[in-house]
């Protein structure tokens, strides 16, 4: 019989609190490298000023240990739980939310308890929690602090079965055109393809978690990512929307099987402050 590995949930609480603190103050290296390279190819002078301002902001926030952006978002927590892990010492959801409360103690409280009544929870909990059960005895935690300027401009559509990549492309471009400066470009575009209505949004979110510079392992998807990126940048929205050649740093697509009737597509936008981090326990 497989030996279960016991993992106290307070380790999850601490890890989530630490990941939130780290990502609030320092943007990921892959993003900073992509921005430096974008600065070199941006055609617009104002666009180059915008990119250098954002890079300077990132340096300053890291040096002062203050948040890069006032909107430190809502916590999206993705757990890949090995099936040989036995969680002990309390409930998993409670442990995750305790980590969110710890991590956000000094950060802005941007979460309301009810979408209609809109009373602030005052501690930025709860997290949006996704769990996958995977082989093994490890637990991987990914935390995204998702700013809602770009979340608000994200979209989902259930296209009919035979729409093909042309209709997907048009929907992605339409979404980004409508978002324009609102999503704080240069943006990162996460696209979900396939699955079901509920599944396709999560695929798009997972696409945003992939580090920049890593194309999809599927050749036809990697090719679509490249084509979409070129077309998005041809829109001319540019850094912060003042016109230019860099509207997006990357387009990432995650796809999954779907029904014979449909081609679900979701476009989840990330602003120019992708706060995300992972750890394996």
């Amino acid at each position: 019989m497989t030996q279960l590995r016991e993992l106290p949930v307070d380790k999850i609480t601490k890890a989530i609190g630490d990941l939130i603190q780290e990502s609030a103050y320092a943007l990921p290296d892959d993003y900073l490298a992509a921005m430096r390279s974008a600065q070199e190819r941006e055609a617009s002078q104002v666009g180059r000023i915008m990119i250098s301002t954002l890079l300077e902001n990132s340096d300053y926030a890291a040096s002062q240990q203050i948040p890069t952006c006032q909107d430190t978002g809502m916590a999206i927590v993705m757990l890949e739980i090995g099936q040989d892990v036995h969680l002990v010492g309390g409930g998993l959801t409670d442990a995750v939310n305790a980590g969110v409360r710890q991590g956000y103690a000094d950060l802005r409280k941007s979460v309301v308890a009810d979408p209609l009544l809109r009373e602030n929870t005052a501690d930025n909990s709860p997290a949006v929690l996704h769990t996958d059960i995977v082989p093994g005895d490890r637990l991987k935690i990914t935390v995204a602090m998702k700013g809602f300027g770009a979340e608000l401009m994200s979209r989902l559509q259930m296209l009919p079965a035979n729409s093909g990549s042309a209709a997907v492309t048009e929907f992605v471009l339409e979404t980004i055109r409508a978002a324009g400066p609102n999503a704080c470009p240069p943006i990162i575009v996460g696209v979900g393809l396939g699955s079901s209505f509920d599944g396709v949004g999560l695929l798009a979110k997972k696409a945003l978690m992939r580090p920049l510079g890593q194309p999809s392992p599927q050749p036809h998807i990697a090719q679509l990512e490249q084509e979409l990126l070129q077309q998005v940048n041809a829109l001319g929205i540019g850094p912060q929307g003042f016109g230019g050649s860099v509207t997006a740093l990357a387009v990432h697509i995650e796809s999954f099987a779907t029904h014979i009737a449909a081609l679900p597509v979701a476009v989840n936008l990330n602003c120019s402050a992708p706060r995300r981090a992972s750890i394996i326990l």
Partner: protein, 185 residues
């Protein structure tokens, strides 16, 4: 070339001088308000009540700042998306609001109202909240303190960098950018 400095509160003459695309540095006092405060202000106006702040000649910055750290007057404070304030903006312009700072598109009716009321819409760099907070020297909550980050504050700013998006002549820096770098119409 260094951008020119503009004094707050904005004079009518300053508004008339500003053109879409100008990068300027703001000096002086402004108000902050975002979704929840706008909703309350409009409810007060509709109920015929006095507002907790005078808006004539003022500039509103759409921001919900992060909490201040030790020895900071305010935490990181970058702009939020302005379009959400569009439904509330015209009554405020009628009360004399002269400037707004945020990020992102405004609706056609707001752009027309800027011409009619001789007001201006600026963008600050979205996501540059840490740097922007360096230019805020003082912050004081002046209304709706229960709204926490969404309370109305008075900021004193020095050299606060913004770009004119929509001027009082119908100029639009976002449209100009698309015309120059986007596909032909």
């Amino acid at each position: 070339m260094l951008p020119k400095s503009i004094q707050l509160p904005l004079s009518k003459e300053s508004v008339l001088e500003l053109r879409a695309g100008d990068i300027v540095l703001l000096m002086g006092d402004l108000l902050t308000a975002r979704d929840a405060a706008h909703k309350r202000l409009i409810a007060e106006i509709e109920a015929g009540n006095n507002l907790p702040v005078q808006l004539a000649g003022e500039t509103i910055y759409y921001v919900g700042p992060a909490p201040a750290g030790p020895s900071q007057p305010v935490g990181p404070a970058g702009p939020t998306t302005s379009g959400r304030m569009d439904p509330y903006t015209i009554p405020l312009l009628k009360l004399g609001l002269r400037g707004m700072i945020g990020k992102g598109y405004r609706s056609e009716p707001i752009k027309q109202a800027l011409i009619q009321h001789q007001a201006v819409y600026f963008a600050a760099v979205g996501g540059a909240a840490a740097l922007l907070s360096k230019q805020i020297q003082a912050s004081e909550i002046i209304a709706y303190s229960d709204l926490d980050t969404e309370a109305i504050r008075r900021f004193s700013v020095v050299g606060f960098p913004v770009i004119v998006v929509n001027d009082c002549y119908g100029g639009d820096a976002y449209a100009d950018g698309l015309a120059e770098y986007g596909p032909p119409n």
